[in-house]
Symmetry: C2
DNA sequence: GTCTATACCCGGATAGAC
DNA sequence: GTCTATCCGGGTATAGAC
């Protein structure tokens, strides 16, 4: 069996995916890890610091995966392929992916819905480079959309993907066949990205 | 000065808009209302029940406002006008509306990000009739989109609007001029709604 | 019926013994 | 490194004053 910090990380990750941050107590984690209540404070500083670390590593994995998918696409890839490479790592929940991936996307969606300051900072920092590259490639397909507006749309899609996983919308999504969800979302996202821009100022 | 339940509601509403549900303690509310800790339990049953009541009334106001805006639109209103009637009441945060409205949209965005079961139920219940009517009118402008896909897109937009108000995205939205935000969002939403559907099954 | 004081339990943090 | 004991803040339930 591994050392205490590893066991704590593992237990936290599992519980985070199962119940979400709101329903985990420090005692739950330490019990599951076979460790003492005080061990979290000693090794990580606080409960939140431990959870943040788990979320951060999930974030990192996701960005790595996005980067890899992007690198695999040919230089002349279509808009839909780009969107797919972007969306699928973010939104793997409902598809039957491997356990590890499902767990990760549940963690990320939970984290997006109640972001700690540390995660918010991490998100902004990591989003910048990868998403910039993604947006550069996307923008070739929609030259009529100004950079700032494309950035807003991209942010809005990120927000939507994160929030759609929350309980508030679970009921509304129940009607959508799970295997169709990703395709339908991609179609919607492509439409939003290619929309006519609002322009510099609405005079009428 | 009004009775205790009113003072509690008022204090809760103010604090909810100022700090969000996560950063309010029962004692904060009762102190602000000049009431005793136990008064919340007596009048509302629990802290969550009080907060839910505030959120519910904000939700009701918003739906009333949406209904009113929709009723004002001529029968042959364009898609953009419909979207505007839908979006503006939901997303009044950054615009300089009256105090009451700004407060209300902050409360709703906060509630969407960490919905209690009661709010989730209320949301689904109230959303159905109003949004159905809205969707009926929208769908006339996009006859090529199947009802189920339109419903998904509508849900996704709702999710995006709610999440965009959270702290996680505040930094990313900082670049967008506040007075342009609504127009740019409307343009994006219209594009997403009019997108080509994914179709019944993607064979290629 | 209203309201208050208070006691209880849970959860996170931490000091200090080992 | 690990554990126990303890503290403190937060939500809740209740007994009793008015």
């Amino acid at each position: 069996m591994r050392d205490t910090p590893s066991r704590l990380r593992e237990a936290a990750e599992r519980l985070l995916a199962e119940r979400g941050a709101a329903r985990i107590s420090l005692r739950d984690i330490t019990d599951a890890a076979g460790a003492n209540v005080a061990s979290v404070g000693y090794h990580f500083g606080s409960k939140d610091a431990l959870l943040d670390e788990v979320v951060r590593s999930s974030l990192t994995e996701m960005y790595d995966q996005q980067r890899a998918r992007l690198a695999q696409l040919p230089e002349d890839a279509g808009l839909e392929d780009l969107v797919r490479a972007w969306v699928l790592p973010t939104f793997a929940t409902h598809a039957e992916q491997d356990e590890k991936q499902r767990r990760r996307s549940r963690i990320l969606q939970d984290a997006l819905n109640q972001p700690s300051p540390a995660v918010t900072a991490q998100l902004a920092e990591m989003a910048a480079p990868v998403q910039r590259q993604l947006l550069d490639r996307i923008s070739r397909h929609v030259p009529h959309v100004p950079q700032e507006e494309l950035w807003l749309r991209h942010t809005a899609v990120l927000a939507a993907l994160g929030a759609l996983g929350s309980d508030a919308f679970a009921g509304m999504l129940a009607a959508v066949p799970p295997d169709r969800l990703a395709d339908q979302l991609v179609a919607w996202i492509v439409g939003g990205l290619t929309a006519e821009p609002a322009g510099p100022r609405q005079t009428a």
